[in-house]
Each structure stands twice: as C-alpha cells, then as structure tokens.
C-alpha cells in the first residue's frame, strides 16, 4: 500500500470483498479518512468499477469495446438480458444469480465479441452462443482444482514446451492446455521443461504452444486444444505414434475422421509466422515470447538489468538523460510529448520530494498493448521506472493500472516482489536511490483518468477531473510535488534504449524515432499485437503483417487511436505512420489501436459509437464536452435511424470544432476527431444516410434483410432467429417476416449458403 493510501484504495478492497458499496460501508470509510459522506460517495460514483446496489452471485460483463461493438456487442448484451429474463429497469436476474452490465473494453479485441463472467473471459460469444456460455461457466464452477504434478527441471540438452500465458491465450484456454501438457509430460516421464511465455502478438491463433530445443530448433502450433497438445507432445517429441494409446487413435479415426491428425500439421504455423515476425521490429516486446515473463533469471540472461547497472556503475544522471534526449523518445501514450523534456523539468526542480508514476490506465476501446507489456515484460517496465526513480531521487514509484486487468496487476505485483527479493528495489536494494516503495494502484474504471492530471486526482483519492495546466505535473503533480508520468510503453522502452541506443534510433526518422506497438483488430485476417518502426505505412501493417481484409469484402477505412483518433480512407494507406503525420491528417496515435473497417462497416455508426463513448466518459467539468458530445450523439443517432437532415452535418461540424478548440483536457479536445475525420473522408455516406440508406447494411432502421433463391431450406436461420421472424419450412426457401425482424443479423451470419442479403429500404 502507498504511503498515502486513499479512500479509493479502500473502496476497491471493499468492492472486491463485498461486491458492492453500501451506504453503511461508504459512511464508515468516509469517517476513517476524515471525509464527509457526500465526498466519499461523490468520489465513488465517478468510477464505473463500483456498484451501489447489492450484487448478484456472478457478474457478467459484456465488452462494448470497438472490436466487440463492430461484431454486435450490443446484441449480445440484449441477448444475455433476454436469456436471463432480466427486467427492463434491473440489472440482475430474478434468481439473483447473474448481473449483466457493459464494460468499456476488456482488451481482448481478437476474441470479439468478448464477455467476462467473474474472472473468466469468453470469446467470441455470438447471440446463439449465449446460453452455452452461461452453461459452460456454471459447469466450470463445480470443477475441482486438480493438483498438478511438479516437474523436474531439465538442465542439459533441454527441450522446452512453451505456452503463452497472456490474457488472450488464457481466455482461449491456454491454462487447460498447460495443465494437460504438464500432466502428460509427467505421465510419460519426458525430459522436457514446461514454461509460460509472454505474448507473441498473434492472438487470433490463441492458444499457442511452442516447442523449442537448445539448438535453436523451434516449432509453433496455434489454436491448441488439450487433446491436440497431448498429441503434439507424443508425435513431435517422441517421434512416433506408438506412445498414443490405441483408444485415442480409434476415437480420432472414428469420431473426428482423423481431424486431430490433420490438425497436427494444419495448426503448425511457425513457417508462416516467421515471415510476419521478420516484417516487424520487436523492441519493447523483444524476446518476450521466448521466456517466462515472471522469471527474473531469464530476463537477466536476455540482457535485462543492464540499464540499471549502467546507472549505478558507469553513467552519471546527466549522461543517462543525454542518452534519452538524443534518442528522441516521445511519450507512447498518445500525445507524443518528448520524454526527456518532462524528465529534465522534474530533475531541475528544487523540491526534495518527487514521484514517478506509470500510467497503465489503458482505457481506449480497442487498444491492449499496455496490458500485454505488463503481462509479458513486467521486468522491463519496472526497470524503466527504476531508471526514472534513480534519475529523480524519487520518493516513490506508483503504477496505476486498470482494475479490469487482473492478470496484469497480478504479474506486475509478482515481479515487484521478485525484484525486492533480488534486492534490486525495495528496502534492501543495492542502489540506495532504489530503496523506495514501488506501489501498484488499481484504477477504478474511468477513461478520463488516462489523462495525466485526472490520474493524479484519482491517485489522491478524488473524482478524476483534470486539473488546469500549467502547472504541468513535472513541476507540480502528485500532492503538488514534481512528478513524472509516463505510459507503460514509454517505460518499457527505456531499458533497451539505454543499453542499446543504436537499436532504438535506427528505426524511424527525424522527430519520430523508435518503434511503436499497435493493436490490430477489425476486419483483418491476422488481428493481434504488432510492433513496427515509426514511419511504417498503413499498407505494410494491414496488407503484409495483418494479411489484408478477409476474402469477400473490400477495405474501406482504418480507425486509428480509438475515441481520440480518426477514420482514414485508403488515400492514407501510404502515409508513414508517426506522431506528426497522423496529427497532420486528422487522426491521432492515441495509445495505438488500429481497427480495420471493410465495406460491411458503417462509418456513421462508427462515429456515433465513439462519440457516445466520449459522452459517457466525459468527466462533466466543461460544458462543451459534457453536453456537446451528447448533442453530437443525438444528431448521429438521428442520422443512423433515418431522420437526419442535411443541416445536421453543419451542426456536427460546428460542435466538433468547438470541442476541438475550447475543451480543457485532451479527452475533450480530441473527442470530435472520429466525427470530423469521417465527415472529411466519408461525407457521401452521411448524405446517403440522410437519404434513407445505409450502404453497409448496419443501421437497423435503414436496412432490410431478405433471403435470396440460393436458400436451400436448411432451417438453420429459422431455428436461430431470436424473434421467430422466419417460418420453419424445411426444404423450401425461407422468408423473413419484416414486421417481426429486428435486424440482428444472426441469419446472415449463420446461413451456410450466404443467401441472406441486405436490401435497401424503399423510401415510399
């Protein structure tokens, strides 16, 4: 716990323990911290993490992040409510078993649409999977934890089975794969090590299993199931099928037609992904897919810890700062402010108490690189922070991480404990400057707290309302002391930057040096996490690394930077992506989410989604952001429901431009970007909506689904239709009764013949 623990810390503990904050507990906590009840409740109600009514036994959180939204999260939410028969003004089912709510982003964009039940993430969950998901969850409650056998570590001539342990792989089932592997290896008494690794970034193939030998030979499989994992170990490690039991082979042959055998080859993806890795430049993520993220030894073996060494032994503070200045490192959180200027300003301050804060409040829907860094390279992040602590003689280092990232919080806490044990940081640290506390603080769910001054308010236990600037946090920040606040990715790049400056500066050019990681999602063949040099073109990212848009649709636009960023059309494909170029074309780096949109995505709906997000997340201080975003959402809703007017576009531009020029914080200033950029590049589409047509077939009120002659009468659509709008007529062409149809698109998605098409509304 921080030296100056706040009411928020305590409220999170109570929320986790009791599931809600009662008036009684709020009053007692308020008393403890010398606050009034209105202050305590006022502070708590700012954050979405807290509940103020008694909870159900299990909480279902439906992710409405960008990627999930595009794949119909709204519909999933409604289906959950319907299946659990939750009344309109309630959020708990009548039995009190489940509560359902929406959550800004779970950071599992490649699993979209994703749903979290208690601590487990499920995905993709489509409307027809909702019932199954609930059942699976309930079944898992009764499963007993099995005792895993302890494996002997093999040291010579070793072979290692590595299983990715990031959140996306875990939610795809990597834990059960790992358990199966451990049990299998123990049963077979094989001389191999089994370990977890950090994120490879190819999350759409999760869970991943890699077998690597000492001699550098490697083999990688994707979409591994426990059965397949056992088979891989048998066939690949023992080299014969002899080890596989007769029964297993028979089951495979009889029931799956030998599919498992085929998967052994089909799911092997190392040759394909070798190319993709070669196209990237992994710098902050370098080597994390090769080692256990929580093993300090392997971090040191891979060259970690050198930055701290240099700080301590060979370099003066000025020299280290000089290295950072010359590298031209800019903050990776979105704004792109030069890191060294912040640090220098804080170093020069005469104040004897200074702080270092790592901003891990990654709230952008559609971005998850911070979470991946915290999970996969926790030691690098901590080393970066340690360098800053040493430079500043800081009194404390604080990591502010969203409470929605439980694994990241667990990993980083574990890593801090390890570093304390190894006497790198903490009270017994070898370097005197590092004998300070490293504290993890959970952020309670407010997008605006990603703004650094709002984050400070939140850390001091208040409502996250941004402060006026100047003074900047580097002059007067946490409890009015000079404070360095940087993004996770910025800190993660510090160690390698100091130990190998050349490796950093050779990427990018001019003011935009180094690499940047992006979360790639949307209508793309290989979504996931990538890291490329600044200045890489979007074309390279989307077509070469991401494998282009899936067959059957065409690329339309790309959305960069979430609610602060903009939509770019194909004319921007060849622009080198860096901080300055993006700002020049009306987008923003944001924290680096890239969502690819194809012809089936509606740009107006996209703009509406982001504006509604900003309206919901506005802190409520400036009128233009609080009300302007609402007014824009209303206009956009009108347009997407077919009652837009041509003059609405002028209103949008007017409100958007005022947001840009007079909002007092970064969230407000950039919140109009999605609207303004789509108005620039896709004004046609707005006008088509005003004419009563949604060319992408997304906006329900402007769309009709019909079934063409390709229908084979299989009745799948009739069975899955949630409103019974399709009559059960086996063998005949199905017909949609438009009066009952709610345009959920389930039939279109499941039709094996692709016979469901979007027809346009007639205006008369």
């Amino acid at each position: 716990m921080r030296k100056l623990a706040t009411i928020l810390d305590e409220l999170i503990i109570i929320q986790n323990r009791e599931g809600w904050l009662s008036e009684e507990s709020l009053r007692s906590v308020a008393l403890k911290y010398g606050l009034s009840y209105p202050e305590a409740r006022g502070c708590a109600t700012f954050y979405t993490y807290f509940r103020f009514t008694p909870p159900a036994r299990h909480a279902i959180h439906v992710c409405i992040g960008t990627a999930c939204h595009m794949k119909g999260a709204e519909k999933i939410y409604e289906t959950f409510r319907e299946k659990l028969s939750i009344a309109d003004n309630e959020d708990i089912d009548p039995k009190g078993l489940f509560s359902v709510d929406k959550v800004a982003c779970l950071g599992c964009c490649m699993l979209a649409p994703a749903v979290q039940i208690d601590d487990t993430i499920y995905g993709p969950v489509n409307p027809e999977d909702v019932e199954g998901t609930i059942k699976t969850f309930l079944a898992s409650q009764f499963k007993k934890e099995r005792q895993l056998p302890v494996l002997q570590t093999v040291t010579t001539n070793n072979t290692t089975v590595q299983i990715c342990s990031c959140t996306s792989c875990r939610s795809a089932g990597s834990e059960s794969v790992r358990h199966a592997v451990i049990e299998h290896v123990a049963a077979r008494k094989l001389p191999v090590n089994v370990e977890q690794t950090g994120c490879t970034g190819i999350s759409h193939q999760s869970p991943l299993l890699q077998i690597s030998h000492d001699n550098g030979k490697k083999a990688l499989w994707g979409k591994v199931t426990p059965r397949l994992a056992r088979r891989i170990i048998d066939e690949y490690l023992t080299g014969s099928t002899g080890a596989i039991s007769m029964t297993d082979r028979l089951i495979d042959l009889l029931f799956t037609g030998g599919r498992e055998r085929a998967q052994l080859n089909d799911n092997r993806i190392d040759s394909e992904y070798a190319d993709i890795f070669n196209m990237q430049s992994r710098f902050t993520f370098a080597g994390c897919d090769e080692r256990d993220p929580l093993s300090y030894t392997s971090y040191i073996n891979a060259g970690g810890g050198e930055a701290i060494d240099r700080c301590f032994r060979s370099h003066s503070r000025e020299e280290i700062l000089q290295i950072i200045t010359e590298s031209g490192l800019r903050g990776r959180g979105g704004g792109g402010y030069p890191t060294s200027s912040k640090w220098q300003m804080a170093m020069q301050s005469m104040d004897s108490i200074k702080y270092v804060i790592c901003n891990g409040d990654e709230g952008d829907p559609g971005a998850f690189m911070d979470r991946m860094l915290l999970e996969s390279v926790p030691f690098a992040v901590l080393e970066g922070i340690a360098v800053a602590v040493w430079l500043l003689h800081a009194a404390e280092a604080i990591l502010y991480i969203r409470a929605e990232y439980p694994l990241a919080i667990r990993q980083i806490r574990h890593a801090i404990d390890t570093l304390k044990e190894k006497k790198v940081i903490g009270p017994d640290a070898a370097i005197p400057e590092l004998r300070v506390p490293f504290t993890v603080v959970e952020g309670a769910g407010a997008f605006v707290c990603g703004e650094e001054t709002a984050l400070l308010e939140s850390l001091e236990g208040r409502r996250g309302i941004p402060r006026p600037r100047p003074p900047f946090p580097s002059e007067s920040g946490y409890y009015n002391h000079p404070t360095i606040i940087n993004n996770v990715e910025t800190f993660a790049s510090i160690p390698s930057l100091i130990s190998n400056t050349e490796n950093f500066t050779r990427h990018g050019k001019g003011n935009n040096r180094g690499t940047k990681s992006f979360a790639l999602a949307g209508k793309i063949n290989r979504p996931g996490l990538i890291e490329v040099p600044l200045g890489t073109t979007l074309r390279t990212i989307i077509e070469d690394i991401g494998g282009g848009v899936p067959d059957g649709s065409r690329f339309k636009a790309v959305q960069i930077g979430g609610p602060s960023g903009g939509c770019l059309d194909k004319s921007a494909l060849d622009v080198p992506i860096d901080f300055d170029s993006l700002a020049g074309i009306g987008a923003m780096m944001g924290s680096g989410g890239i969502i690819v949109l194809d012809t089936n995505d509606c740009m107006v709906e996209m703009a509406r989604y982001f504006t509604a997000f900003s309206a919901m997340e506005s802190c409520g201080r400036c009128v233009i952001c609080r009300t302007g975003n609402h007014a824009m959402t209303d206009i956009l809703t009108r347009i997407t429901t077919g009652s837009g007017k041509p003059e609405d576009l002028d209103s949008l531009k007017r409100i958007g431009n005022s947001l840009k020029s007079i909002s007092r914080c970064g969230l407000g200033r950039t919140s109009a970007n999605p609207v303004l950029s789509t108005l620039t590049h896709f004004e046609d589409e707005y006008l088509q909506h005003i004419d009563g047509r949604c060319p992408a077939g997304v906006c329900r009120e402007l769309t009709l689904f019909e079934i063409s002659d390709d229908c084979i009468g299989c009745t799948r659509c009739a069975r899955e239709c949630p409103t019974g709008a399709i009559a059960f007529t086996p063998g005949e062409r199905h017909i949609i009764q438009q009066k009952l149809c709610i345009r959920c698109g389930t039939c279109r998605r499941i039709c094996p013949e692709g016979a469901v098409y979007v027809s346009m509304h007639d205006n008369d």
């Binding site: 606050l35 009034s36 009840y37 209105p38 202050e39 409740r41 006022g42 502070c43 109600t45 700012f46 407010a446 605006v448 409502r463 309302i465 941004p466 402060r467 006026p468 100047p470 309206a615 919901m616 997340e617 506005s618 802190c619 409520g620 201080r621 400036c622 009128v623 233009i624 609080r626 009300t627 302007g628 609402h630 007014a631 209303d634 206009i635 809703t637 209103s651 007017r654 409100i655 005022s658 020029s661 007079i662 007092r664």
Partner: protein, 468 residues
C-alpha cells in the same frame, strides 16, 4: 506581489503575478461575460469567459488562466464570440427549465400571468387585481375576445384530462370583486402634469391607465368617446360600459369628444402627448392594450429623461413539451415546496409555478440575452431530464437546471463551519449530492444558495429575497 504587464485588446495593463485574467479584466472594467464571476479556486466549467491568446490563437478561460508577463489577449474577436455563443448554447441545451412560465410568455397583453396566479394563491387579491389592470385595463371586456393562449400553453393542460389552470375565470373573479384603484393618488389634479391621449380605443385606454398610474392628469380625445369600436362588437354593452366607467373614474380622466390632430393648438396646453391613433384598429384587443401601454411608457420615459422600462418577455431556456410523468414530477415538486396549497382560488388546478424563481437575476439568462441566443438554435438533448426537486433541510436543488460549476461546493467548503457537499456521477449525469442525515443550517443554506449563478439552488426560508 511582483507585478507584470499584460496586453488586453492592445492595451498594456499592469497585473499582479498571481491574478487571473478575469480579475485583471474586472479591475480595468473590461467586459467579460462570466457565470462564476471568478469566485473560488474552481476549474473552468462554463467556458463563457473565453479570451484569445494572440500568439497561439488558443482560446483560454479567463477565470482559470493566470497572468504571465508578456501575455497578449483579445477579448472580443470573432472566434471568441463564436465560441462563447457555442458554450452558451450547450449550457442552455442541458438546462431544463422555463425562465418565464409559458402562460406569461404567450400573453399578447404581456400580463405577468404567473405572478398574478401566485398572488391569488397567496390570497393577495387586491395586489393581483392591480397587476391585472396594469396590463389589461378592461379584463372582462378582453375576456370576451380572448382565446386564452395562457390556458392553451399551460403545462397542466398537457395532462391526460387536458384541463389547464383556470386563468380566465381568475381574471373575471378579480375584475368583478376588485375595482381598479390608483395607488398613491394624493396630489390634486391641478398640481399634476397633464397628459393628452389621442385615440379612445383599447390602446388609448391602456395609455390612460398607464399615464394615470404614473401621476398624470389625463385627458382623452376621441370623437367616439371611450372604446367606441370595442363596445360596438359586443352584446353585453352594460358590462363593458360599467367597466370603462370604473376605470375612468379611478383614473379621474376627462374626455374631449372630437378628433385632435397632433399639430392642433390645443395640444400646447398639455405636458405630454400620447398618440395611440396610429395603432391599428385591426389589432387584437390584448395586443392593442400592450401597444398603448408601450407608447405611453415611451413618451413618459422620454419626458422624464430615462429609458423606458417595460418587462421584456424572454425565455432563452424552455422546458419544451413535457411527458405526463414529467408533469406529475413537476406537480410533486410544487407540492413539496408548499404542501398546504392544494388548489387554486377558482377551484381549478394548482399552478405549477413554472417561472424560475431567479428569472430576474439569473446570470445565464442575462448572458443568453446579451449574446442573442435564439431558442430555436438550442439542441434538445435526448437524455432523461432529472426534473425532480431535491430538498435537504432548507436547501432546494433542481438537478435539471444545475450547470455543474461547483461554486456551491467550493463555497460550502470555505465557510467557517464547512458544510459537506459534493458532486456525484460523471458527465451529463453529474449532480449535487447532499447528506440527508446532515441538513444545512439555514444560515449556511442561504450562503450556499446565494452563490448559485442560476436558479438551481435556493434556500427555502428566504425564498425570493435571497439576492437582496
């Protein structure tokens, strides 16, 4: 305090280091619209006091921006005005409440209907009647023509039964029981200044009453006598005649039964001349009353050398159409405020008291009028309006009107005995949160309500006297 120099609108001004731009501007009488008036160490919220930094072109809120040496600002560029208008529009968009009640807003005679009904509810009939005569000197006559826009626009008519507050019956009741009386009519007619009114139509009669009320000895000139045309169209002539008689007697007016031109030598005998002959005879009676009064007011003000002061009807903020549950909420609010008043005098429905209690002194209303915001340009938000009145001790709070500036919270904290107050929720759902176990003492409540720039907070016991 080390001084520095800043430039505002091209003028170099001396300023203290820790001052805000707004403080400096106030000191030098440079007009900057501001709702929070720069009080407290708050964070800019309304974005009305924007000024432009000439170097960067950035717009900064004057209340929050600290001066620094060499700063150069403009306070009235096009961009500044544009953005101030935009902020105001947004403030009004989320501000759900009527500045002036619809009944008063629509009255063509500009009768302060809302005030009259309230006086009647308080059983101050005499006062109510005189208020009525000041706008409608012949209430019973006008009732015969009046289509009752006040009743049509009444919010209670939006209820399922469609019955409004009975305003016209109230007027009849007052006219029948309380004749017009000239207040402070002490001076002898001979000592009074003399006014000649040309034209005996409704406009002329309104002018007669207005001039008489302002202490003039009144003479009216018209070949057809008083209200000739008005009488012609009505069957119940005796009622009208009696009403006119009452008024003329009360005003102590004399009559010249011939038409007089403005250049007639006779006009030399009078101090002022009010010509209502040009006001169209086609005009509806109520409108004619207003125009006559307006004309009289102009002439009298000119004679006194002041600017005419007539209550301007304006309501930049309006509640708009309400749903039935919303009306129910408003009625509950009204009952919460005065639980003992359950019905109006004429046996009709209870008035909702739509007019904002701070309508006269509201800073937001004033700013909206100054910036000429048109009600039509204010977007109506598709957001559930929180119309319920919150009462905590002596404090009454209307969330739908609150502009979330936080002045009340800051003020409450700085009192010698701080009172706990905070915002809850965020974004557009932000609202004040009270501790119901700890209602504010009346003195504290008064102080807190006083700082509210608009009518969102009021202190029960002080009511309307609050801003005196």
């Amino acid at each position: 305090m080390s001084a520095c120099t800043i430039t505002i609108d091209g003028k170099a001004l001396a300023a203290g280091k820790s001052e805000t731009v707004l403080e400096v501007c106030n000191r030098y009488d440079i007009y900057i619209p501001s709702l929070c008036r720069g009080m407290g160490d708050h964070r800019a919220s309304c974005l009305l006091c924007l000024v432009e930094d000439t170097k960067s072109g950035k717009l900064l809120p004057a209340c929050e921006t600290q001066v620094s040496h060499g700063m150069s600002l403009n306070t009235n560029t096009h961009a500044v005005k544009d953005m101030r208008t935009q902020s105001l529009t947004m403030l009004l968009a989320e501000h759900a409440g009527d500045c002036t009640a619809p009944c008063a807003l629509v009255c063509p005679a500009h009768l302060e209907t809302d005030k009259m009904v309230r006086l009647v509810e308080d059983q101050k009939y005499e006062e109510a009647a005189q208020l009525l005569y000041s706008a409608i000197p012949l209430p019973r006559a006008s009732n015969m023509f009046c289509p009752g826009p006040c009743e049509k626009s009444c919010r209670r008519a939006e209820e399922e039964d469609g019955i409004p507050v009975s305003i016209r019956p109230v007027k009849d009741f007052l006219a029948a029981n309380y004749p017009p009386v000239l207040k402070n009519n002490t001076a002898d007619n001979a000592n009074k200044k003399k006014a000649l009114i040309i034209g005996g139509g409704p406009a002329g009669i309104a002018a007669v009453w207005y001039a008489a009320c302002n202490g003039y000895a009144v003479t009216l000139a018209d070949s057809q006598g008083y209200a000739g045309m008005l009488k012609a169209g009505i069957d119940e002539k005796p009622v009208i005649a009696a009403e006119i008689d009452n008024l003329v007697k009360a005003a102590d007016a004399s009559l010249i039964t011939r038409d007089i031109a403005t250049d007639d030598p006779l006009t030399q005998d009078f101090d002022i001349l009010i010509n209502t002959g040009l006001i169209s005879a086609q005009m509806a009676v109520a409108r004619a009353f207003y125009h006559g009064r307006e004309e009289a007011a102009k002439v009298i003000a000119h004679a006194k050398g002041v600017t005419p002061h007539l209550r301007q009807k304006s309501s930049p903020s309006r509640l708009g159409k309400c749903s039935v549950p919303e009306i129910e909420t408003l009625l509950q609010n009204r009952l919460k405020r005065n639980a003992h008043k359950t019905e109006s005098v004429a046996g009709g429905k209870l008035c909702l008291d739509c007019t904002c209690w701070k309508s006269e002194t509201c800073l937001l209303k004033k700013a909206a009028e100054d910036h000429k915001i048109k009600t039509a340009t204010i977007p109506r938000l598709n957001h559930k309006r929180d119309l319920e009145l919150v009462i905590c001790g002596a404090l009454e709070y209307e969330p739908a009107k609150c502009m979330r500036c936080g002045l009340c919270i800051n003020t409450a904290q700085k009192l010698s005995e701080p009172y706990p107050l905070s915002f809850e929720n965020r974004g557009i759902d932000t609202r004040l949160l009270f501790d119901y176990n700890l209602p504010a003492p009346v003195k504290t409540a008064h102080r807190i309500a006083q700082v509210c720039p608009i009518g969102a907070l009021r202190c029960k016991d002080y009511g309307e006297k609050i801003d005196e």
